[in-house]
Amino acid sequence: MKTRAKSALLAAAAAVALALPATAEVGVTDTEITIGLFGPLSGPLIAYGIDPLNAAKMVYDDVNAKGGIHGRKIKLVIEDDKCQGSELVAVVKKLVTVDKVFIAHGGSCTAAIAAAQEYVQREKVPYVMLNAAGDNAVFPPTRYMFGSFQGTQRVYGAALAEFAMRELKAKRVAIIVHDDDYGKANLAAGKSVVERMGGQVVAQERIPLSINDITAPVLNMRAAKPDVILSGAYPAPAVLLAQKYGEFGMTAIPLLQSTQGIPTPSVFAKNVGNPAALKNFYHPWSFNDIADEAVRKQWSDMYKKHFPGREAGPFMVTGLPSALSVVDTLQRMGRDLTREKFVDAMEKLDLKTPLMPYALQFGPGRRDALRGVYVVKFDGTTQKVMPGVYSWNGKDGM
């Protein structure tokens, strides 16, 4: 009898609770904000996901340790998107409709993220990319999707081209990229900058992702007699390129390699195995941790503290800016949290942090956060940050 009365009471209470209108926004309670955090935690692109996702988690954990944001702690739901569109869409739909997150924060691969764009727009869910370049999903900008916290491929292409033209005084430029979306954007921006600044693209090689003999493209470039070579190759072809370019005696020609090809410069140098090949080697870098040892130490020590079992590569920092931006936005919003207000607040982001050379900014027609990067000279052992910040003007390659 007693248990029956109890359960009847509970049922009544539940009915009352369900009948009351929900006052808080989805994913927000008095004490918690639920954020869905995801990235490639398995599969071939795991190197671009694990450390950056950990870094983002670290930022959130740190905020929680310091008391949360306006009295609310951040609760994370972490998922693996395998850098595949079908998986990422499933993950986002699960996070939104089952885990009921406030915002979605994740994705290291632009093509996969683009698959979720329509859903996110339709359901009006704020989506913040983790560390993807994001070109295809921020141009044209859509209201709910924010990204490119370390710069788009257009930024890298344009920055390297600008450095080549301005500092290296190049006139004839050879560009080698992959035939994927990153390559396309990189090439378009680089080419536009070169031509705008009075130069000429004498060779453009688009290579397959799976290439294992890079002889032909390198020969083609050599035949075109460039002053500088701009590369958007991924890790394995980037090594092959540097090796072949060394083998064929082309090292007098500066080689400028986009970041995605060298997630860990020291490993890259070891793989190339030929210090002479890196005599004139440069790459862009969106962070201040090379130039400023204090910055590097701060974040790497923090990572060690949070993840003692794992040795983080330099790519770890790419997970930081998006998380810092989310935290900054939530802090600026105060106690009144709704998805629409989050989007409005994120749009007003203007975050200067010792970590990045430029402020992270969005705007009414802008959804890519960073448009200026450093250029670093790397000789195989030491990295030297070149003076100046090289940026994309928002027009080249569009």
């Binding site: 398995s42 599969g43 071939p44 795991i46 190197a47 694990i50 035939d179 090689e205 688009r206 290579i207 397959p208 992702l209 799976s210 290439i211 294992n212 003999d213 002889t215 032909a216 493209p217 020969l219 083609n220 035949a223 890790p235 394995a236 090594v239 092959l240 083998e247 064929f248 005696g249 997630p263 860990t264 490993v267 070891k270 793989n271 190339v272 195995g273 794992r310 040795e311 590569g313």
Partner: protein, 298 residues
């Protein structure tokens, strides 16, 4: 002209790379009719074992060069003993249903790839140091690395050794007998099951050596097994049952890929092996040197 010659020279080297892997595939096909879709992953495994022995266990290069084929031999033999024997059931059935066997090799390939990927060390692209280091060699304007010559040398050596083995040694003849008529072979006292294991072990160890030779050239990621498709193309060009055919096919493929990259576009390089496979199978399925058994009688 130098462009083309350099393309040809580099193509020969890469072609030998494909040929080595193709040799491994053809050996197992000739003996068991099974197409080993895990061939590429065995190459990958060889490369990573090499890295492990060399860097972690800090062994000398020659020792590593011997250990790797042995280790992969064991892996291949075990795979046959445990998995394939179970899948094919009875050893004497000639018209064994090939689909499950091939599916088993596909399973193996994901097993190996997934297993290797679990190790965090493999997240970054790695390179196995080559056997021979040293300044590049110049032939007129053509550049080749010392390692490249080694690859050509080792490939030719292995091909010749295998040819001699299958033709003239007792074990080789026993293996051929097993593949032609397992029942008869059993009747004359050849241990068929052990022969099968040996063939898989041999094929795997060649793949392992290929891994050690190739890793300096191809760079190591858990996905480097995709080179298997190029090996298939090489084997098909040469004729899937011919050992010298593999080498010829591989070299031709390597050269064609580079010429396509120079004269058409590097973008087309990716599709060349597949296009070649379709073309050869359409026009001359037995390849250059193969037996005319590619076509069905019905």
């Amino acid at each position: 002209m130098t462009l083309v010659l350099q393309g040809v020279a580099s193509g020969i080297v890469t072609g030998c790379v494909y040929a080595l892997v193709a040799l491994s595939l053809v050996i197992v096909y000739k003996s068991t009719d099974v197409v080993n879709f895990a061939g590429g992953e065995l190459v990958m495994l060889g490369g990573y074992f090499g890295l492990f022995f060399l860097i972690y266990a800090d062994l000398a290069y020659p020792i590593m060069f011997v250990l790797v084929p042995v280790a992969i031999f064991v892996a291949g033999a075990l795979f046959d003993r445990i998995t394939l024997a179970k899948v094919s059931g009875r050893t004497f059935v000639k018209h064994v249903d090939l689909v499950p066997l091939v599916v088993a090799t596909i399973g193996l390939s994901y097993l190996l790839k997934g297993g290797v990927r679990v190790v965090p060390y493999t997240e970054e692209v790695r390179r196995l140091p080559p056997i021979f280091t040293g300044p590049p060699l110049f032939f007129d304007d053509i550049v080749l690395q010392v390692q490249d010559i080694a690859i050509i040398g080792v490939t030719t050596l292995i091909m010749v050794a295998l040819w001699v083995f299958f033709r003239f040694t007792l074990l080789g003849k026993a293996l051929r007998a097993t593949s032609q008529n397992a029942r008869a072979a059993a009747l004359v006292g050849i241990p068929v099951k052990t022969m099968r294991m040996a063939v898989w072990g041999l094929s795997a160890s060649i793949a392992g050596i290929a891994g050690v030779m190739l890793a300096p050239k191809l760079l190591m990621t858990p996905d480097m097994g995709s080179v298997v498709m190029l090996a298939f193309a090489a084997a098909i060009i040469g004729g899937f049952s011919s050992l010298p055919g593999c080498v010829v096919g591989g070299i031709m493929l390597g050269i064609v890929q580079n010429l396509v990259g120079i004269f058409l576009s590097p973008q087309a390089i990716a599709v060349t092996p597949f296009f070649v496979i379709m073309l050869v199978l359409l026009l001359r399925p037995q390849g250059l040197f193969g037996e005319t058994i590619a076509l069905k009688k019905v």
